[in-house]
Symmetry: C2
Subunit: 524 residues, 2 copies
Amino acid sequence: MLKATAEARGKGADLIVFGELATTGYPPRDFLEFRDFIRLAEESVDALREASTGIGIIVGSPTINPLPEGKDLYNSAYLLYNQETLHLQHKALLPTYDVFDEYRYFEPAKKYSTVLFKGKRIALTICEDLWNVGNENPLYTVCPMDKMMPDHPDFIVNVSASPFDYNHAAERLEVLKANVDKYQIPMFYSNICGAQTELIFDGGSMVLSPDGSVYDELPYFKEELRYYQLEDVIKGGYHREQPKEKIPLIHDALIMGLQDYFGKLGLKKAILGLSGGIDSAVTAVMATRALGKENVRVVLMPSAYSSSHSVDDAKALAENLGIRYDIIPISAPYDAFNTLLKDVMEGKPFDVTEENIQARCRAIILMAISNKHGNILLNTTNKSEMAVGYGTLYGDLAGGLSVLADIYKTDIYLLADYINKDQQVIPENSINKPPSAELRPGQKDSDSLPEYHILDPILYMYIEKRLGPQEIIDMGYDEKLVRRILKLVNTSEFKRHQTAPVLRVSTKAFGVGRRMPIVGKYLS
Amino acid sequence: MLKATAEARGKGADLIVFGELATTGYPPRDFLEFRDFIRLAEESVDALREASTGIGIIVGSPTINPLPEGKDLYNSAYLLYNQETLHLQHKALLPTYDVFDEYRYFEPAKKYSTVLFKGKRIALTICEDLWNVGNENPLYTVCPMDKMMPDHPDFIVNVSASPFDYNHAAERLEVLKANVDKYQIPMFYSNICGAQTELIFDGGSMVLSPDGSVYDELPYFKEELRYYQLEDVIKGGYHREQPKEKIPLIHDALIMGLQDYFGKLGLKKAILGLSGGIDSAVTAVMATRALGKENVRVVLMPSAYSSSHSVDDAKALAENLGIRYDIIPISAPYDAFNTLLKDVMEGKPFDVTEENIQARCRAIILMAISNKHGNILLNTTNKSEMAVGYGTLYGDLAGGLSVLADIYKTDIYLLADYINKDQQVIPENSINKPPSAELRPGQKDSDSLPEYHILDPILYMYIEKRLGPQEIIDMGYDEKLVRRILKLVNTSEFKRHQTAPVLRVSTKAFGVGRRMPIVGKYLS
């Protein structure tokens, strides 16, 4: 922020705007409960204030509530100028749903005021403060801009930390437009950019003219500094929006999610198991595009139940990508376990136990290479499997980061096609063959699950739309199937409790935004 | 509740009081976002209303906010009587901290009224509504009882879902007394009893006389129905409190936590690995006391690095408990992996990789028996290890439920002594020998960690008290050690993200009540 401020000052900017909680990153989560952490945030604000000679700096940071009553902190935005705090506005509307926990930490603002800066009056708002406009079912009973309008502000500034999902850019645009349509003044909307564990912040900062048109929208998944003249924005007539297609957005979001997960942990190298199927193939491509081919290695671990083409398809992909691959068959340790466990298995027939042993032998191999050489294991599970618990805990559900587990299988195919759009990266065969875990002879996913084009819409209605069984049945789906699937989702909650963070690209991802009781009786 | 109501009516009770959200269980978490789930809760209230002939029933349940503004639900308490809803009060103070997420779902009440029932005026409150009294740093800016007192209520009823920690009973008593001292009327406080995944609700419902004395306190960890005459309570002079000693409370809480985790999943049988050390020994005892010796089996899995007495100590414990044990050495699969991985290990020396392979071989064995015979694997990690990441992901950190991971090692010793108080259950040697993971020759915990009597207080200050490094150093601890330990805690966040739910017995447990960024830079 200091560097950007210096650059902006050099270009003669009057005002530079950063994002919500930009001093700490978003969300800081329970770090906010440490006074020591808040002190560090305050030191960052102090440094920016020192750097504010001749240029106004708007920046989000937590501040301490001076009153004993209420939560100890506010989620605030500063306007710093000429070594002083010209204005401090707290956030009023505190998102506490899905991935958001703001009322866990912050007291809502009850006072709203505007600020005069270089002859212009600014209505300074923080993210959600603008989101109670244009909804039929508003979450809050107050609307901060309504309170500020009597001051006749010249423009709105909003500092945001609004995470990506494949619908979000369009939804955000609608909300911002609804505000400008209502208040008829221009808006400068600044959203943070970068991924934090599972949350991907896409940037896409925007400037809107008072007529509600988008004067400019900054690129997604990229930090950038752009300059605007207020008079030009007011005049309007210029219009630039970013494309908002679902699959390309997901593709780019995953790359940023991967890069920032590794980057913020200070690590570079990934490893994953390549089965010859589509999920691990797509994961390998995304990892290679995010981290570079020199930083990705894969392991092919055939068993007696692997088809011959699986190894060939996996090899072909690795060669297309130019990444290192090793072939390590799992029969030796698998046989060793079977021999060792013969007595305690009490002669019971081959079942999911033996399937799981295979998957877990593979996890041991991958984790051993990970431990010895410092690669993070990437998990390759998709959202359909993750939803119904079709995966082995401590086996194929292992990994430090789950790349695809917020993408239904039917969308994985679209993503594979998008990857292959210019040239064949993923072998045709990996895309076209019937999905199989290859853990017993001739096994196919469709032996235990309905076809994905039937499964996925039911899961979507239950997970994203929170519809109950009867509502889904009423849409024309088979009752027995619906009840079986929802039961599978609910009884596999214990597995999802123990899996890696999932890069979030949908409106309802497994992880911090979906909180379910493990021992709940509902639909289980 | 129908059964209890019938019993109470039979005994001539005027009023029966249940707990907060008693129709759904607490916390229902995101089930609350399903209209279908709310409908089921409403059906339960309907059934109770039908059963309210001649007896008032106070029960907590979610209700729908009729206004479009604000959250869609209230956290409410009904007074049902003679097939009607006599009164409906919503909760005003919504705990949203630690394990609580209430503002995620509920709109806070803004209206408060009392209700006349059989000639007496009742101030009906819900859990946290009473918790803003007697605090120097109140979390809320309103106090519902202050608003109700102008009605001159005859007594307070509070329906609660207040989870156990080893300090909680004393703290709860203080808060309730502060209310009675302030308002000078008697109180009937009803708390739910039973465990939900990681949260243990201890009951301990209470009746307080207007002079602030405890008229009666119901047992902890046990559902019970007791009867009181209002005049007797007002008169006072009777006094019964439950004992509140830390280690016995933890012991009993773990038993209820285990029983309800298994019971609510509809499962009976547990399995765990027994190392000969104190943690797995204590876990085996708790499991046996909770589930019965016929439902617990253990596996001893020595390696080349296990000491001879480890197997003997583990055997002795299993025999003391009368539980089945199997001895399955891990050398065959461990050797198979080492041979298989020889090339990809590239001649690098023995390190944590090989330690982890051993721990993961054990997990495969335990999970195989678990899968084949339907036992839930119990995790035996303690809080000190869990804090610093001293454990193998998909190895000894595996399991469906973590029994001891909210108890520091120094308290595990006290718990072992308490278990042995009447007769020697856990062999002396398991308690007295220096802690060791036995994953390399002559290994001891103290090779890589400070002694637990030094480690645990630092962890407590950081985790439970949320003190920063400087504050802990200022208490007299070595700076280098403090920084090293806090770094270990923060950089092992990724491991805790993938572990089983932890039975919560302290004020700050790993799990739903402690939310940390995995890629955070703070102290890492």
